[in-house]
């Protein structure tokens, strides 16, 4: 493949034109590697967070254990995962599992605090109207906790987009691969285009996913717009 692009940082467009298919493929795997852990993490964190809220004594241990998980550096977790899961070292599943751990660690506390932030009088009113405990959770507590949970999801998603890139250094392909390529091509002199392109795409992906969460949270909480409009 002959490349017309130079090695200056602004040649990233030329680089993209030359390697379009490959870059789009990397972008796609980067996207699902960052999004899937958030989805799974949320599904796991909801019941645990609910437990931490429902039984007050469970809150401190749950929050400190999840906090501990958060101190493990991501590269370490990527590398240790195969021992825990019995997977191959290059299996993308390791990345998904490791990032799910972080997402759960972050969201459990967020869910518990979000549920705790629902005003007591609202709960009493709902109970007085005859809602069962499950209805209460589904129709009152969860919807009211949406803004808090969405804030946690934004943090987790943006962090994941950046963390996924680290997995490229141990050979799992996604946008981080562009950094590795640039690194390897820079032996004789700086070759910026793939590195800059990778950074730009990572930041763009993070911003896009962030906006998506903000938008869906707004759609899920129509009453908030009424309040702000006033």
């Amino acid at each position: 493949m002959t490349s017309a692009a130079g090695s200056a940082p602004w040649d990233l467009f030329g680089y993209f034109a030359d390697h379009r298919e490959q870059v789009l493929e990397l972008l796609w795997s980067h996207t699902w590697l960052s999004v899937l852990p958030v989805v799974v993490g949320l599904l796991v964190a909801l019941p645990i967070g609910w437990l931490a809220r429902r039984y007050r004594w469970a809150y401190p241990p749950i929050v400190s254990v999840t906090g501990l998980l958060y101190t493990i550096p991501s590269l370490a977790l990527f590398v240790i995962m195969p021992t825990l899961l019995g997977t191959q070292i290059l299996d993308p599943l390791n990345v998904v599992a490791a990032l799910t751990v972080y997402t759960v660690a972050l969201l459990v506390r967020v869910v518990a605090d979000g549920l705790a932030a629902v005003p007591e009088d609202v709960l009493q009113a709902a109970t007085a109207m005859g809602l069962t405990r499950l209805q209460l959770l589904r129709m009152v507590q969860l919807p009211l906790a949406v803004p808090v949970i969405a804030a946690g999801l934004r943090v987790a998603t943006v962090a994941n987009v950046s963390l996924v890139a680290i997995a490229a250094t141990i050979g799992i392909p996604q946008l981080g691969q562009l950094f590795i390529t640039g690194f390897q091509l820079s032996v004789s002199g700086p070759y910026y285009p793939p590195i800059v392109l990778g950074i730009v795409l990572c930041v763009a992906l993070a911003l896009l996913l962030d906006r998506l969460i903000v938008l869906s949270a707004r759609l899920l909480t129509p009453w908030q717009r009424v309040v702000t409009a006033r």
Binding site: L75, T83, Y102, V110, V161, L163, G182, F183, P190, Y191
Partner: protein, 280 residues
């Protein structure tokens, strides 16, 4: 798992040989990179955060610093390496060290700056007004009232910065630096699974220990009036110690559990829309 234990139990890995440093040396190197980066970042971000928070001016600087957080760590590290290393080549380890330290400082800055700033801004206006009303000067208010009240948030920023720096110093081994990341990448290259996972376990333990140490320092330095950590008897309310529960409840650090993100963009969501920002 067995291979990891074998590797960790091999005395030669701890003492090292003439050509390869032992685990102790690598831990020391790892800690040295971390300490240098944290000291430089703290030296810049902490005073800046205090001044910006106290005066309430130039808050756009904090937003800019926060923008840095969405940069992917690996990309930043490799970009800086490619940019800086030709300038410092031929001076031994400086080729790896200089770009890595710059990347680590860039990484640690936003967390410390944003949390110091938010900590000072979040001091309840009533408390600040009371301090001014008692005749304190601006400087006295900053150091005797705002700083002690901001300390929990400052610590959460420093702790998350420390975790990020430790995690990223591991990745720095990819571009050629020493430290515990060496084991991960060397083990990966030579298919020595025990070495690779052993190195990873050591990094995780180191991160935990550093976080624990900082938590202890935080416990000693943060006033009980701020942390609300009273012994049961004192909590009975003898009326001699003021407890500012309002501040504890408004702690905007809600989203970051013990500290921050392990490696990359920091999740401490302090700066925007947090608690008492309406202090203006």
């Amino acid at each position: 798992m067995n291979e990891v234990l074998v590797w960790l139990n091999d005395p030669q890995n701890w003492t090292g040989t003439r050509s390869t440093p032992g685990i102790g040396d690598q831990v020391a190197a790892h800690l040295a990179y971390t300490a240098v980066a944290l000291l430089i970042a703290g030296g810049i971000a902490f005073p800046l955060g205090l001044v910006l928070g106290h005066t309430g001016r130039a808050s756009w600087l904090v937003s800019v610093a926060n923008g840095l957080r969405s940069l992917p760590t690996v990309g930043l590290l490799i970009l800086l390496y490619v940019m800086v290393s030709p300038l410092v080549s031929g001076r031994g380890d400086a080729v790896y060290l200089v770009p890595t330290e710059i990347a680590l400082v860039v990484l640690a800055l936003p967390a410390i700056l944003a949390n110091t700033y938010a900590g000072v801004r979040n001091v309840s206006p009533a408390v600040r007004d009371a301090a001014f009303g008692m005749g304190m000067t601006g400087r006295q208010v900053l150091f005797r009232v705002e700083l002690p009240n901001a300390l929990p948030l400052v610590f959460s920023g420093v702790r998350s910065a420390a975790l990020q720096v430790i995690a990223t110093a591991t990745i720095a081994a990819y571009v050629g630096l020493d430290g515990l990341g060496r084991y991960v990448y060397d083990g990966l290259a030579s298919r020595q699974f025990g070495e690779m996972a052993g190195g990873a376990v050591l990094v995780a333990v180191l991160a935990l220990l550093v976080d624990l140490l900082l938590a202890l320092v935080q416990r000693v330095t943060v006033s009980r009036g701020v942390s609300g950590r009273f012994s049961r008897r004192a909590a009975g309310g003898d009326g001699r110690t003021a407890r500012i529960t309002e501040l504890a409840a408004a702690d905007p650090d809600d989203l970051s559990p013990a500290a921050g993100d392990p490696a990359a963009t920091d999740p401490v969501p302090v700066p925007e829309g947090s608690g008492g920002r309406s202090t203006g």
